[in-house]
Symmetry: C2
Subunit: 225 residues, 2 copies
């Protein structure tokens, strides 16, 4: 509507910001970009995320983003990798093998649920990545070994439970983990449509607590001898 701000001339006017005396800190800038990108990708998906928005949220600009991370897709992969490292690192510190088998499984179920509850951006990122059939995660080399530890530890707990006569013989560690993760993931990631169609606010504390108890109950019921 208003006059043309863009014309053919290649003239560039430089202006220096006179007051800007901010301390330099590459590590801080890098971390700020990563955190801002995590939020932006989690909120909008990879197609909806805006590079300008990430730069602005990080309090920097696109030049730095491209300097540190290459391009939008590489930045996205970095965000995704860090998200996985986050949950698997916290999970390791549980040491579910140090308890009775039932307590160990219950502890893992509680931890998973509460981690999902505290980190909705992790759930969103998983959703986005699966929408694209793990197109970026597949290219990651860092993550393959991160997950064998979990399955191994879980297999040990199930084996001890079986020998103690409290768990069924054919409980598969992957299936047990998928059961726990399913119940937490679906409830939280789909809470918005579910609350809408069923007319009950799933985010209400009473409902959240009931579902937490439900997860532990269902998980144990599914493998109890």
């Amino acid at each position: 509507m208003e006059g043309a701000g863009r014309n053919g001339q290649k003239k560039r006017v430089r202006r220096q910001s006179p007051e800007r005396v901010l301390q330099r800190d590459p590590e801080r800038t890098r971390a700020a970009i990563l955190e801002a990108a995590t939020k932006e990708f989690a909120e909008n998906g990879i197609g909806g995320a805006r590079v300008d928005a990430i730069a602005e949220r990080a309090g920097t600009n696109k030049r730095m983003l491209y300097h540190y991370f290459g391009d939008k897709e590489q930045l996205y992969l970095r965000v995704l990798e860090e998200a996985y490292v986050g949950i698997r690192t916290a999970e390791r510190e549980l040491h579910i093998g140090d308890r009775t088998p039932e307590e160990g499984i219950g502890e893992l179920a509680l931890f998973t649920w509460r981690y999902f509850l505290k980190h909705p951006e992790f759930l969103s990122l998983l959703g986005t990545e699966n929408l694209h059939r793990a197109r970026w995660l597949r290219q990651s080399v860092r993550l393959k070994e991160l997950h064998s530890h979990l399955i191994g530890e879980l297999a040990d707990v199930l084996e001890r439970g079986k020998k103690a006569g409290v768990f069924i013989a054919n409980a598969d560690p992957l299936n047990v983990y998928l059961t726990i993760a399913s119940l937490g993931y679906f409830y939280l990631s789909n809470q918005y449509t579910l609350s809408t169609i069923f007319g009950r606010d799933l985010a209400e504390p009473g409902n959240l607590n009931a579902w937490e108890r439900h997860i532990v109950h269902v998980t144990l019921a599914s493998i109890s001898a």
Copy 2:
């Protein structure tokens, strides 16, 4: 790189396609747009979906899309509503009340799993809509009443099971449905990242069948007296 195809002149050159003798069919065009949009939104999310791509997939053009559906967001809501109508309509035809309580619950679990398996685009749409916190679904007036039927029917089955002494007393119909849906949704919608990180192809027929049996087993175990 090549010469400017666009200049300031407002001249428009019209050309008529000489061979195009296609039969007119507004209903077919409308349906084609809806189907194409379902695929495009399911594959790319709302931010990644391209209006041009939808028009091309439907074998028509943007003019018709805007003519029939208003804009991109209204088209998206239509797609979402149709997806819900699809599953709820099929579900109604099950008549889970016509069987024993255990069979009824098992039947519902099997139906839900198989419907998710056959309609991956439904899962993708749910994921997209939840990423945006049900922003569009909330505006829908058509869907509120579509879901009370399911919960009512399920409540009846649980009550009969309780009276027959096969189900526990405090089984909540919504929780039972959420349990069934959780186990199916998570396994299928997250199969790509899960297969990648755990190094096991979840889409392999043997694994799919094992999980189908697992869902029925877990659901019944969680409510059995």
